[in-house]
């Protein structure tokens, strides 16, 4: 372990101690600790939270083009009804007279109205593939139809952001395995649960010794890829041991829904508040591949969206002022076909809708160059066409949020021309 890392562990430990005490003291203390750490650290710490909706969510149900007549022709049984005048009706929640939110996304409505949430529609990859696994790989690699790039766009973005102090928590994925987005040269950590992350050898007489033994063995495994992996692991364990993450209580009455996704976002909030040097967090949520009985205002998809929006809203309220440095971006490999299929579901399609949430978001808007769902305007006669390249969304997040210079962007998004005039403008300059 090099000196700077050791030094960091000590400094980071102080903040983590504050995390442990957070339950006993007030949120204000945490805030002050964080501010102090920030002042000491210099630059404001921007955090990017990426949420991958695996399985291709139906963007046409999330952000409903209720002003597009063709939408209702394509989806006679599963369309989300036009916004209702009567309260309590199960219909789209109007955003701007043309688009509306799925009623199960109602937790998003106040965030949208307050200007912190934007939707980017007709967004996706120009690739014509409709394979989940290919398109997830492409999107996470930040490329289109290029299989030779196996590192992730978030990892390459991190590589462009060499901060004075590196943290083992620079990039954290709340998964068992590091996802493609975060694979690459920069350190990335996959943690399923902060509370149990560590070597649990307490039952044996020399529990600590056991952990130390593993650390020593791996450190001596020169030339083995596992050595680097173990270094990251042990650094992170040392940091987390300083705190008791089980004592965490969300602030401002935020209530995360039960389940893996809510728990993952709660832990992201925890890491952000602990100020351990988090720059990028990755969370995934699945169950969107609704080929059969997708439902409309109610049903299978509605249930998923309900939890999805509540978890994200909980994170927003929990983080409070800290949201000013956070950008949360949702994505999914592709959208679903414009027409419903024979099973009241939808097959694999093309363009989709992304959400951007945060203090720096120019929200309250659905950003789209709407191609319309008229049959003659559909991509390959079947899907919503892509008018915003997902790479321009990623690029805007990198440049305007993470502060990566446009000149460095070719390393992050190889083969893509990054120009500010192609940005949708979901972030304030």
């Amino acid at each position: 372990m090099n000196t700077s890392r050791r030094l960091f562990l000590r400094n980071g430990g102080i903040a983590l101690a504050a995390l442990g005490a957070g339950a006993a003291f007030d949120a204000g203390l945490l805030g002050r600790v964080a501010c102090a750490a920030e002042a000491a650290g210099g630059a404001r710490k921007k955090v990017l939270i990426c949420i991958f909706q695996r399985g291709a969510v139906d963007g046409l149900s999330m952000v409903v083009p209720h002003g597009d007549r063709a939408y209702y022709q394509h989806r006679q049984e599963i369309a989300i009804p036009r916004p209702a005048r009567a309260a309590g009706a199960e219909a789209a929640l109007d955003l701007d007279g043309f688009f509306g939110l799925h009623p199960a996304l109602d937790a998003f409505l106040p965030l949208f109205k307050s200007g912190q949430l934007a939707a980017i529609h007709a967004c996706g990859s120009p690739s014509s593939s409709r394979s989940h696994f290919d398109m997830q790989d492409f999107m996470e690699s930040g490329v289109v139809d290029d299989k030779h790039i196996s590192t992730g766009w978030l990892n390459r973005a991190l590589a462009q952001r060499q901060l004075a102090k590196s943290s083992p928590f620079r990039a954290v994925s709340m998964t068992s395995i590091v996802p493609r987005s975060l694979q690459g040269d920069a350190d990335a950590l996959a943690i399923r649960d902060l509370a149990t992350f560590g070597v649990n050898a307490s039952r044996s007489a020399g529990g600590a010794n056991m952990a130390a033994g593993f650390e020593g063995i791996y450190d001596s495994a020169v030339g083995d890829v596992l050595r680097g992996t173990s270094k990251e692991s042990f650094n992170a364990i040392a940091l987390l041991k300083k705190a008791d993450p089980t004592q965490y209580a969300p602030a401002h009455g935020a209530k995360y829904p039960d389940g893996a996704f809510g728990h993952a976002l709660l832990q992201v909030a925890q890491l952000i508040k602990a100020d351990v040097g988090l720059e990028v967090a990755f969370v995934e949520v699945d169950g969107w591949d609704t080929h059969v009985n997708q439902g409309g205002a109610n049903g299978l998809l509605a249930g998923r969206l309900h939890d999805f929006s509540r978890a994200i809203a909980a994170l927003y309220y929990d983080l409070g002022d800290k949201m000013s440095d956070v950008l949360l971006l949702t994505m999914s490999e592709f959208g679903r076909a414009a027409r419903q299929n024979g099973n009241r579901g939808t097959d694999h399609g093309h363009a989709n809708a992304f959400f951007a949430l945060g203090g720096a978001v120019r929200g309250g808007k659905v950003l789209a160059d709407w191609p319309t769902l008229a049959p003659e305007r559909l991509f390959e006669q079947r899907d919503l066409a892509v008018t915003t390249d997902f790479r321009d969304v990623f690029a805007e997040a990198c440049v305007r949020h993470l502060g990566i210079s446009a000149a460095d962007m070719p390393a992050v998004l190889p083969g893509h021309r990054v120009e500010a005039d192609k940005f949708r403008g979901f972030l304030k300059r």
Binding site: R130, K147, R192, F197, T229, S233, D347, E380
Partner: protein
């Protein structure tokens, strides 16, 4: 930081000895000029690749019979007595249950669930899970509470229990079976033809897929394996082919039949659940091209995907028997052209068979399958020349899997120093190999009833209910450790299955889970496995830590441990200030099983 003071000294020592350690053969990135494998290394390699690593005594046994004879025997598993493994799984009765029983139980589970929901009232859950509305009703005392099934009822849930039992059987067979190559290939093909039990009826039908579609064909002809998978109800359900139909209106009779079925099975109305129209579903048509045969670079088009889907219209299964059924009413009888080859109109069920013939014999299929097999058996990036040679064997033998893997084992690349210990074990391989190396035995609850409850609990957690709770438990089963290490069995969501590129398993979080498994196993904290590491060092002088360690590492790793690792382990096993010189065998075992050397095969 106190706890980490000790390793710093180890670390400094580690740096001093960094150079000799780097010369140690086997670590990746070592220079190509490596010595050929010794006889013992070749034996260990075969046991690690054709199987899940050696049990005590295996190396000596192979040495005695000869490597070639061992490989030949493994290629003909029917000649190997496997009564011990079969006896171990015999108590898992869902493995023998018919599809009709299991699918009936699956429906029964839903019916019981609906009954509970009706009793306690949770329409939101019903809507979310099944997209159906039920009349809100209150429990007798007017309270609304979540429905929690009684424990006695839990044990009867065969369709959920079969998931836990199948996972357990996979582990037990991998640990105990003498037919090691069969078990490795079963793992390979089940991953290739991935099915996720989290998808509704798959959880009940997966038993038949494992038993009837995959296992009989793991060393057979690829065309037969592909055909068995294409007819497997679990696959038809997983990739929605049971929903794949020509565009049509349901007849009045059909609607009546469905309504009767739903009402009889679930006691509710099917109104609003079925659409009058049916149409094509491309999911299976796409994945069979992309993932099962040609590979994503196999040169097919979106049009080919649509044509493949048309060929398979009407391939479905009966909701009563859970067995394959061709529904001619739903079949698209028109002419199809796929990969430039015509399938004439009016062939009915034969369309699919002809398509399978075409796909099994495409050169792209030979290349794709051969590459994946080479990745499993040789290295993450096998040489192109090897893949081309193996693909030729595939083509010449009409996809005879036995001949194909035999050619891989006979290749110089297989026994090359570059391939030796080049693969990182998957969590499944890691767990199984550790239990085998430590001569582990499975244990069961005293009451068979409790085993059933455990299998229902784990089956339920795998399909999405309660995995957090199981992962938090102090003592976990072998199955749940594998889950936590990142490889839930029979539950990979994407149809691609887990990657054959083993370096993808390397991640900090997953590594910690592996270390925790090593610790739990040696502290007898894996709840259904007992190991006896003391037996491995019988006769060694307990006051001579070096001797104990050498015996142990010889037994567990067959000499493949670096001097550096040895030194660090010995230092940690004997902390300063201890009066006794005696080492803890279980602690030494944990450190060896958790070492980087043991993560490789």
């Amino acid at each position: 930081m106190k706890r980490f003071i000790l390793p710093v000294s180890c670390l400094l020592l580690g740096l001093t000895f960094a150079k000799p350690a780097a010369v140690w053969a086997g670590a990746p990135g070592t220079p190509p000029a490596l010595a050929p494998l010794t006889e013992q290394q070749r034996i260990v390699h075969v046991l690690n690749r054709l199987g899940f690593g050696p049990r005590p005594g295996d190396v000596e046994r192979v040495e005695k019979m000869g490597i070639d004879a061992y490989i030949l025997r493994q290629l003909h598993p029917e000649s190997i007595d496997d009564s011990a493994a079969e006896k171990a799984v015999a108590r898992l009765d869902t493995l023998r249950m018919s599809s009709s029983h299991l699918i009936d139980e699956f429906n029964g589970d839903i019916r019981r669930f609906i009954d509970q929901q009706k009793m306690f009232g949770n329409p939101a859950e019903m809507k979310m899970r099944y997209g159906i509305d039920i009349k809100k009703s209150k429990s007798p005392d007017g309270q609304q509470k979540p429905a929690v099934p009684a424990i006695s009822e839990l044990a009867q849930r065969d369709a959920i229990r079969c998931v836990g039992e199948l996972q357990d059987a996979k582990l037990m067979r991998a640990v105990l079976s003498q037919r090691q190559l069969s078990e490795v290939l079963t793992d390979f093909w089940e991953n290739h033809f991935n099915i996720d039990v989290r998808k509704d009826t798959c959880r009940a039908l997966i038993v038949a897929d494992d038993r009837d579609a995959i296992r009989p064909h793991v060393l057979g002809k690829f065309r037969e394996l592909l055909g068995a998978s294409a007819h497997s109800p679990a696959m038809l359900a997983y990739l929605d082919n049971n929903e794949n139909s020509v565009v049509r209106e349901r007849s009045a009779f059909e609607k009546k039949a469905i309504e009767w079925y739903v009402s009889a099975k679930f006691g509710m109305s099917a109104k609003g659940m079925m659409s009058a129209k049916e149409g094509p579903n491309e999911n299976y048509g796409r994945e069979i091209l992309e993932l099962h045969t040609l590979g994503v670079d196999g040169g097919y088009t979106q049009k080919d995907v649509q044509e493949a889907a048309r060929c398979f219209t009407g391939w479905t299964f009966s909701p009563f028997t859970g067995t394959f059924n061709f529904d001619a009413n739903r079949h698209d009888n028109g002419r199809k052209i796929i990969l430039g080859k015509a399938i004439p109109a009016g062939m009915g069920e034969k369309d699919g068979e002809m398509l399978l013939d075409i796909l099994a014999r495409e050169p792209a299929t030979a290349r794709f399958i051969s590459r994946k097999l080479c990745q499993r058996f040789v290295s993450d990036s096998p040489p192109d020349e090897l893949v081309a040679r193996i693909a030729d064997v595939f083509t010449q033998t009409d996809g005879d899997i036995r001949k194909v893997v035999q050619a891989i084992f006979a290749s110089p690349e297989f026994f090359s120093p570059a391939a030796y210990r080049a693969k990182i074990k998957s969590p499944f391989e890691y767990a199984v190999s550790a239990v085998r190396a430590a001569d582990g035995q499975f244990t069961h609850a005293l009451l068979p009833f409790m085993d059933k409850v455990q299998h229902v609990t784990e089956g339920g957690a795998t399909i999405g209910y309660g995995s957090d709770q199981l992962s938090k438990a102090k003592r976990k089963t072998l199955n749940w450790h594998v889950y936590d290490m990142g490889e839930p069995l029979f539950a990979h969501g994407a149809p691609s299955g887990y990657s054959e590129i083993s370096s993808k398993w390397v991640s900090p979080g997953a590594l910690i889970d592996r270390l925790n498994f090593a610790v739990a196993l040696t502290q007898q904290d894996v709840s259904d496995v007992r190991i006896a590491p003391e037996d491995l060092v019988k006769g060694a002088d307990a006051d001579q830590p070096g001797q104990v360690f050498d015996r142990l590492s010889q037994s567990l790793l067959h000499g493949e441990i670096s001097p550096k690792t040895r030194q660090v382990i010995l230092q940690n096993a004997l902390p300063k200030g201890t009066q006794s010189a005696a080492v803890s065998v279980s602690k030494l075992t944990a450190l060896i099983l958790g070492s980087p050397e043991f993560q490789r095969r």
